[in-house]
Symmetry: C2
Subunit: 183 residues, 2 copies
């Protein structure tokens, strides 16, 4: 892997990507984008909202990638959508603050806000707070917002929007979440 | 990263996933799935059809991941869809043979056939050859087939099918393929 090589001013302007929809591949596509970027020497940060499980494969794997960092702001427990616990709100807000700090410090070329669409839909953080954050994006920084039900304002602002659409689901095998695939 | 830890017979049966559609995130979602799996200690092989460029970020990045291997079977040049060169056909066939060998040797837990849907659509290899290959899949092995225009028979056979649907494209910025994002 090349040494860390920040994008220069000559590089193209960084874009904002949204991965949404009910299908598989939103988080993994952003992980893959991060992997590619890390391979080019860019510095990548993924902030995972509403996730706090230690057995996510990506957490182990990126320990081997010096310029790809993942931090989680969530608990292992599910968030109660209709009545989120104070700690869930606090964790999401901490994640947002971590993103603001990453913007200010300009230590990263790629910033992935995983499941932030869901954190907004579930009222852990507000649309406006995220839009305000996006306004502070350094020009060169590439950003990815993932999660079902992306708010229309994120879609309007984004440069690319991809809907991961579930065409076929393995209900016949009765499998829910499996190691290496869903986490 | 844990030492290589093959899936045991007790693990769930491996599935066949298809990522198709005109949107972003097919290859990157499979890279992300590979990253996760590698983080869990599974042995991952990605065979890239119709790609032979050395500047793909994922090639650099996986050098840091001891149990994630990527091999390319293609050239840097574009394949002429209507009249593919002999070398393009040969490379795709070599890729298929590499996949057969990987099946036989049982050295991998996850096998990703990147852009194989396109290789089939462009008649570099046949649908039947791929279906025959899938029949030899060890029960525990997880497989991913990516590329636009997945043949219906792949969709019928797959356990999960996700369509990456382009909702918004950055035509306004006039950008085609950028380092770290598209390769």
């Amino acid at each position: 892997m090349p040494l860390s090589k920040p994008m220069s001013d000559e590089d193209e302007l960084g874009m904002i990507h949204v991965y949404t929809g009910d299908g598989k591949g939103k988080t993994t596509a952003s992980l893959g984008l991060g992997l590619r970027s890390a391979g080019h020497g860019y510095r990548v940060l993924m902030i995972q909202f509403m996730k706090g499980q230690i057995n996510y494969g990506e957490l182990e794997a990126v320990k081997n990638l010096p310029n790809f960092e993942i931090v989680q702001f969530g608990r292992a427990e599910f968030v109660d959508k209709d009545n989120p616990a104070d700690v869930d709100v606090k964790l999401a807000r901490d994640g947002l603050e971590h993103a603001r700090k990453a913007m200010r410090e300009r230590k990263y070329d790629v910033l992935i806000l995983d499941e932030i669409n869901v954190a907004v839909e579930w009222n852990l953080i507000s649309v406006k707070e995220v839009l305000d954050l996006l306004e502070t994006k350094p020009d060169h920084m590439e950003m990815v917002l993932t999660g079902r039900h992306a708010p229309q304002s994120f879609i309007d602002l984004a440069d690319t929007v991809t809907e991961m659409k579930e065409v076929k689901h393995p209900f016949t095998k009765g499998v829910l979440a499996r190691k290496g695939i869903e986490h």
